[in-house]
């Protein structure tokens, strides 16, 4: 039987008053969509480790791909806070569903929009926005995760084309993607971005199996074996690591908002459960130790909501720095993971079953705290910002 989604939003500090009509309409629309399309099916897909591919189109129909990009390039023409609340509602459903949208919007559409030629923008962006094309983003390599600058993927000049060799790892969407925005070094060791199409000879994207996290999201590799890439597929607008890092800033921004959704879902589940579950002749919500957990959770969620609202305001003014985005990702993902663990305990044995979403969120968040810059790396980014000393190496 399809699950009934009893989620109720929590807004302890009346944050809604800080949001515009557009933000509230966007948030409520995505919340309705998640209740209708995601909640009824997600546990089943998660258990079978299958990606609900039909949702790629649905995400496009509601406008979840690149909502803050201009309409003429396949986006929604909205602001950064709208993008944030959309990610929050998607991740309230599942981090894997949010990842589908984050990758398509922030890591595929954004670099083509920011660094692509007009021809590239016209060719790819409308189709990516409508979900006709699915994209993925190739930066991380088997031996270069936290240190992407060391990447070995490289290309050599060959007339109108370049010849690309190398491999990428942990690539969301890659096995089902029609195109990949991949980053590789030229003969001088300078990083460039390029658009690969799935039928290019020598290009393959095998799936990675055995994940115990983000099981409803498909992940794979990208393998480049003498792939001939036309030079017109290279993004002309950027050289060096600034290109991929600016994309990561966009995606990390979305994650900082998204994980609040996962935390809210865990908190809401624990709150509802603890008011109904009776032990020693009273609801467990009436016991001090449980109230301490609930009070801590809603306090941390409220702090994260304020954090992201301010970050969103800065982003709208084009003033959000990478270190500020790192701080929000660092704090909020950790907050969500702690709330998932704490709320799971409040459900006792039921907390480990898929009758409730908490364990799934908890397992997902282990990926979210790792990808797009690990928790430790974000710590060092903040550390470097405040001390001026690079502790990476």
């Amino acid at each position: 039987m399809a699950k009934v989604d009893r989620y109720q939003h929590h807004d302890f500090y009346n944050m809604d008053a800080l949001l515009s009509e557009d933000h509230l309409l966007a948030r409520d629309a995505v919340r309705d969509w998640v209740k209708q399309e995601v909640t009824p099916i997600i546990e089943d897909y998660y258990e079978r480790a299958e990606c609900p591919k039909h949702l790629y189109k649905g995400l496009a129909e509601i406008g979840a791909y690149g909502p803050s990009l201009p309409v003429e390039y396949g986006g929604g023409g909205m602001d950064e806070i709208a993008y944030g609340v959309i990610m929050q509602e998607l991740e309230r459903g599942d981090s894997g569903i949010r990842s589908m949208a984050s990758v398509q919007g922030s890591l595929v559409m954004y670099p083509i929009f920011a660094y692509g030629s007009e021809e590239q923008k016209k060719k790819y962006l409308p189709k990516l926005g409508s979900g006709e094309l699915i994209g993925c983003f190739g930066l991380t390599e088997p031996d270069f995760g936290s240190n992407p600058t060391g990447m070995v993927s490289h290309f050599i000049d060959d007339g109108d084309s370049v010849i690309l060799n190398g491999a990428k790892m942990w690539i969301t969407n890659s096995p089902v993607a029609d195109i990949a925005v991949a980053w590789a070094k030229d003969e001088e060791g300078v990083v460039h971005g390029m658009i690969l199409e799935k039928d290019m000879p020598g290009f393959s994207a095998p799936e990675i199996h055995g994940k115990l996290s983000l099981r409803a999201s498909i992940t794979g590799e990208l393998v480049f074996e003498n792939v001939r890439v036309p030079k017109k597929n290279i993004l002309p607008g950027v050289k060096g690591m600034r290109g991929p890092l600016s994309c990561l800033s966009k995606a990390r921004y979305g994650i900082a908002w998204g994980v609040i959704g996962a935390a809210l879902d865990c908190y809401d589940t624990a709150l509802q459960y603890s008011k109904e579950r009776v032990q020693f002749d009273r609801p467990v919500a009436g016991f001090q130790l449980q109230q301490r957990k609930l009070a801590h959770m809603i306090t941390e969620i409220t702090k994260a909501q304020l954090f992201t609202w301010r970050l969103g305001t800065l982003a709208n003014e084009h003033k959000a720095t990478p270190a500020q985005i790192s701080m929000a990702k660092f704090n909020n993902v950790n907050m969500a993971l702690e709330i998932a663990r704490e709320s799971r305990q409040m459900l006792g044995g039921m907390g480990i079953t898929n009758e409730y979403p908490i364990m799934r969120h908890m397992m997902n968040l282990e990926t979210v705290i790792t990808y797009e810059g690990t928790h430790d790396i974000h710590t060092l980014i903040i550390g470097m910002e405040v001390t001026g000393i690079n502790a990476f190496k």
């Binding site: 009893r6 109720q8 009346n14 809604d16 009509e21 557009d22 509230l24 309409l25 966007a26 409520d28 629309a29 309705d32 969509w33 209708q36 129909e61 509601i62 406008g63 979840a64 909502p67 309409v71 929604g76 023409g77 909205m78 709208a82 959309i86």
Partner: protein
């Protein structure tokens, strides 16, 4: 085909309902409101489908203060072409119906849709009053509607089955579950809604015909008593002495 859809607001279905200590007013602090689901999911969407099939325009009208503009924007985001808000705070169904009736008299709408009721007060009075004010037919609780040869044919759910009724246009139809399927607004629709006209019109200022004298909550349900399956005598005693059903 020109269609007017009447839209109303209602508290979010999960909102806790409480009243002031004197029982005269609903406590509205911190309460979130939504577009009434019967208006949104069924009336508005069926109106949009008819427009898509037959051409014309879909207008929405709301009788309420500016604070309710967000529900009007939502209707525009879903696809309505133009909106009208009568700027007053209605106290009963008569005030709403009078405002909509006066507005509709000045415009040539083929169909006026409402939801079958608003979820909060569930009065279901407004559409019948509008029809009477305009002197046009009224079909209530329609869960299926077709347009054929200039007539509207509706199916209504009745006790134990369905009935089919038809009426010429113009008419008023109140929409029940099943008339259409919910459409979730997309981001583009939300952005386009900002550019669609939301016209504010002055009210007729009719007096309400009803005065609210107070609210009262139903008695709280008492707890469940568990009885040992071996102790049938106790079950019979409780049913007889406490529940008084045997």
């Amino acid at each position: 085909m020109n269609i007017l859809v009447c839209i109303s607001k209602t508290p979010e279905t999960t909102a806790p309902i409480d009243f002031t200590p004197d029982g005269k007013e609903l406590k509205t602090e911190g309460m979130n409101y939504i577009l009434n689901p019967y208006d949104e999911w069924y009336a508005l969407v069926r109106a949009l489908e008819l427009k898509e099939q037959n051409g014309g325009a879909v207008h929405v009208i709301h009788v309420g203060p500016a604070a309710n503009d967000i529900i009007i924007r939502k209707a525009l985001a879903i696809g309505a072409d133009e909106a009208y808000r009568v700027d007053c705070d209605p106290k009963d169904a008569w005030m709403v119906a009078s405002e909509v009736g006066a507005f509709a008299k000045e415009h040539a709408y083929d169909i006026i849709f409402t939801g079958k009721e608003t979820l909060d007060y569930a009065g279901a009075l407004v559409p019948g009053m509008i029809a009477e004010l305009l002197g046009v037919p009224f079909i209530s609780f329609a869960n299926h509607l077709e347009y054929e040869n200039g007539k509207i044919i509706c199916q209504r759910e009745i006790e134990g089955g369905y009935e089919e009724v038809e009426a010429p246009m113009p008419l008023v139809v109140s929409a029940a579950k099943g008339l259409a399927e919910q459409r979730i607004p997309n981001m583009r629709g939300i952005m386009m809604a900002k550019r669609k006209p939301l016209n504010v019109i002055e009210p007729q200022c009719v007096s309400p015909k009803q005065t609210l004298t107070g609210y009262e909550k139903p008695p709280q349900r008492t707890g469940v008593k568990l009885i040992d399956p071996e102790n049938m005598d106790e079950l019979v005693r409780l049913l007889h002495e406490e529940a008084k059903v045997i």
